[in-house]
């Protein structure tokens, strides 16, 4: 095995890129993995220990389970070639397109990193402040890690269920324009389910469009459409981390597993560049603070003190064509004609939008009663933090 020393260095470098921890600790974790990561991690661990024959046998096992897993074939090629001559790099294919090799190396790093860095049990994505009772699951995507995390709603508290490798836009995240090949960042939900029969093979086992552009995207002038969660072509197990025109792409088996938990029109899909994690204590504090603000808005509305009620709105407020001044004028006029108002907000969900701005999407069932008018509606508000206080910056029907 003359080539093994340099090859080992390269894999070691790859592992370093993925982080320094050993795989033994990863194996001790109790998460169930249906993807190729556990076997892949074993292969790399064996290469590291210079057990190339064992690594090849393990790679064959990996490819038996995932015949179209390209990264597996690349590693197999290396392990075979290492028997014939010294290797210079991971993915030692001569005359191969360098960009494709780079893609596969990126996939290797993404998968190994994610396998090792499972979310900590007592940490949750900051975005899942509150799921309403009908939302059984929530999806959170980390584009930089090439990972999708599935959370179950346990009494409003998100509990980690599974995570999957994903591909996102060729040009990265933070979509702005139609055709910019980027994946949007924000709070969305699945709007439809497109079965395999209605799609070309390119989309694999199905597709779930999401509501990009959402109210906030539109307000910021972002455009484009057709952002989906979807599968992979039948001859491909997975695509490189940055491969799509903006969609979030999963392996077909992962999409199928995920699909069982998606509720059309209900399940939130929150896409971030890089997930911010909060300890349960911090998460509880954030959620309590915002809940208090929402409750204050509700009770101030009931109080008929329009000034107090309007103090919950940002100067940058906008709803449809109304700005803050027009909104204020209208509310003062309406409230002047009322003897009493009763407002309740039920089934509240609160999802923080990833990004620089402190923005939370709040959705609830509003039951409004007053001396001269009553109605019920599903309402959506965007709350933004201004000078340490939560203010409403958008409000409308959902």
């Amino acid at each position: 095995m003359k080539g093994s020393a340099s090859f080992r260095h390269l894999t070691a470098a790859l592992l370093l890129a993925a982080g320094a921890a050993t795989f033994a600790s990863a194996a001790e974790q109790t998460y169930s993995d249906s993807g190729p990561e556990p076997l892949l991690a074993q292969v790399f661990a064996q290469i590291e220990q210079n057990r190339l024959d064992a690594a090849l046998a393990q790679t064959d096992k990996l490819l038996k389970a995932f015949p179209n897993f390209r990264l597996g074939h690349l590693i197999k090629g290396d392990l075979l070639l290492a028997r014939a001559r010294p290797l210079e790099t991971l993915g030692n294919a001569a005359n191969a397109p360098q960009d494709k090799l780079a893609d596969l190396r990126e996939e290797a790093i993404a998968r190994l990193k994610a396998y090792r860095d499972k979310p900590l049990a007592d940490y949750v994505p900051r975005y899942l402040l509150q799921m309403h009772p009908e939302q059984k699951y929530a999806v959170v995507v980390d584009t930089q890690k090439a990972r999708l995390y599935l959370y179950r709603n346990e009494g409003g508290k998100p509990r980690f269920v599974a995570d999957y490798y994903i591909s996102h836009g060729k040009a990265g995240a933070e979509k702005l324009r139609e055709g910019d090949k980027k994946t949007p960042v924000g709070v969305y939900h699945v709007t439809a389910s497109l079965p395999r029969q209605k799609l070309s093979d390119f989309y694999g086992s199905g597709a779930f469009p999401i509501n990009y552009p959402n109210e906030w995207d539109k307000r910021l002038g972002r455009n484009g459409h057709g952002i989906w969660l979807h599968g992979t072509p039948s001859d491909t197990f997975s695509r490189p981390p940055k491969a799509s025109d903006g969609c979030v792409v999963l392996a077909n088996q992962d999409l199928d597993a995920l699909a069982k938990n998606l509720q059309i029109g209900t399940t939130p899909v929150i896409i971030s560049n890089s997930i911010e994690w909060l300890s349960l204590d911090d998460w509880q504090a954030e959620r309590a603070a915002l809940s208090a603000s929402i409750e204050a808005w509700r009770s101030d509305w009931e109080s008929l003190d329009t000034g107090k009620y309007l103090s919950h709105y940002s100067q940058r407020f906008q709803s449809g064509k109304q700005d803050f001044a027009q909104w204020s004028t209208q509310k003062r006029q309406v409230n002047a004609g009322k003897q009493w108002i009763k407002v309740s907000a039920d089934n509240v969900s609160m999802f923080r939008s990833p990004g620089k701005e402190e923005l939370v999407v709040v959705t609830f069932d509003q039951d409004y009663r007053s001396s001269n008018l009553s109605n019920t509606m599903k309402k959506r508000q965007y709350w933004i933090k201004e000078d340490g206080a939560w203010k409403i910056v958008y409000e409308g029907g959902a």
Partner: protein, 362 residues
């Protein structure tokens, strides 16, 4: 020549290293005839067979060998020779049978394993080739030829794995493989022979190169035949001009139907039916990969606004299995409204007219 080889070595098939990169191991046979102990009396007819084979006279060589085998069916030398001749004749499967039997009867001999590996490699059965070479090495750990061959096999297997990893277009790849095989078959017999000697005997050092050179010209003769045979027959379009002629008159409504179905699928946003209107060899704009083009089309068609595609002034000309359709395409979606002249080339595949080319203009 005969006296030179009158020692305790065995004939072997040797894989030379080629300066040209090739996907397939070419085999090169050096029939070094040796005498197994106890010395046999049939050295002469076998040497004659060897001479005939080197001259490219495979038929007579096989005849001579079969004569020997008729008298001594178990004779290892004769069977080995037969395997070599069959290999030269391109009868790989027959040669595999001969060498396989030899490995069963003489499991201690590495050469039959080695040659089996060469044959398997020619058939791209690398796993089997690898196993055979490992057996050769197991019997003779210092067998250099087998080691070298094994290295080659690993490199070939690696290259196969890389092709899968990088998804080098599979349809093209298989075509290239075939071509590489043809080249190898042609040049294989013209390559200089290298004779290996088994160092364990310590006795024989064969002066390989000079002898080999003289063998080249006769062996090179039968080149064109296998090449022509192995050509992957570039599928001649059906040699039925009369039938095609007869249908060209009635083919028109079918082509018109195909165009209208295409427009209807587009209007109905039925991506699957829309894409199915295109032939597998449709010339994508800018030569982009089919999958990328399909994805782009799917995305365009699946937008929220309704789409309406109308066809006007449709003119169709059918020529056998090909048809040209010219029409005016009126497209309407949301605020966008366009009208353009379009020309399409359609081909008939399995009774369906499919779009092979699509361009704006006439």
């Amino acid at each position: 020549m005969a006296e030179k080889y009158n020692t305790m070595t065995l004939p072997r098939m040797i894989l030379p290293r080629f300066p040209v990169p090739s996907h397939v191991l070419a085999c090169l046979i050096s029939a070094t005839l040796l005498v197994l102990a106890p010395a046999t009396a049939n050295a002469d007819p076998l040497q004659e067979a060897s001479r005939l084979m080197k001259q490219g006279q495979f038929g007579p060589a096989l005849e001579k060998t079969d004569q020997v085998l008729a008298a001594k069916p178990k004779d290892a030398q004769a069977r080995f020779m037969k395997g070599l001749i069959l290999t030269e004749m391109g009868r790989q499967n027959d040669a595999i049978v001969v060498f396989t039997k030899l490995t069963e009867d003489y499991p201690e001999l590495p050469e039959p394993y080695n040659n089996l590996a060469v044959l398997y490699a020619q058939q791209r059965q690398f796993e089997k080739a690898k196993n055979a070479l490992e057996m050769a090495i197991r019997t003779h750990p210092s067998y250099a030829t087998a080691h070298e061959n094994l290295g080659d096999i690993y490199a070939r297997m690696a290259s196969q794995a890389y092709d899968k990893a990088l998804q080098i277009d599979s349809s093209n790849a298989s075509a290239q493989t075939k071509l590489a095989l043809i080249r190898d078959l042609m040049s294989g017999s013209a390559r200089p022979t290298t004779l290996a000697s088994r160092s364990t005997t310590g006795k024989v050092q064969v002066a390989a190169a000079p002898a080999a050179k003289t063998e080249v010209p006769p062996a090179a003769k039968p080149e064109p035949a296998p090449a022509a045979k192995a050509e992957p027959a570039p599928a001649p379009t059906d040699p039925k001009p009369a039938a095609a002629e007869a249908q060209s008159a009635s083919g028109k409504p079918e082509v018109e139907g195909a165009i209208r179905n295409w427009a209807n699928a587009w209007s109905a946003k039925d991506v699957k039916a829309y894409l199915a209107a295109y032939a597998s060899d449709f010339q994508t704009p800018g030569g982009q990969p089919r999958s990328a083009w399909e994805a782009e089309r799917a995305r365009r068609i699946d937008k929220p606004e309704p789409i309406q595609v109308g066809i006007e002034n449709l003119q169709v000309a059918v020529e056998g299995e090909r048809a040209t359709a010219k029409f005016r395409q009126n497209y309407k979606s949301g605020k966008l409204k366009t009208a353009a002249a379009k020309t399409m080339v359609l081909v008939r595949r399995d009774g369906r007219w499919l779009i092979q080319q699509e361009r704006v203009g006439n």
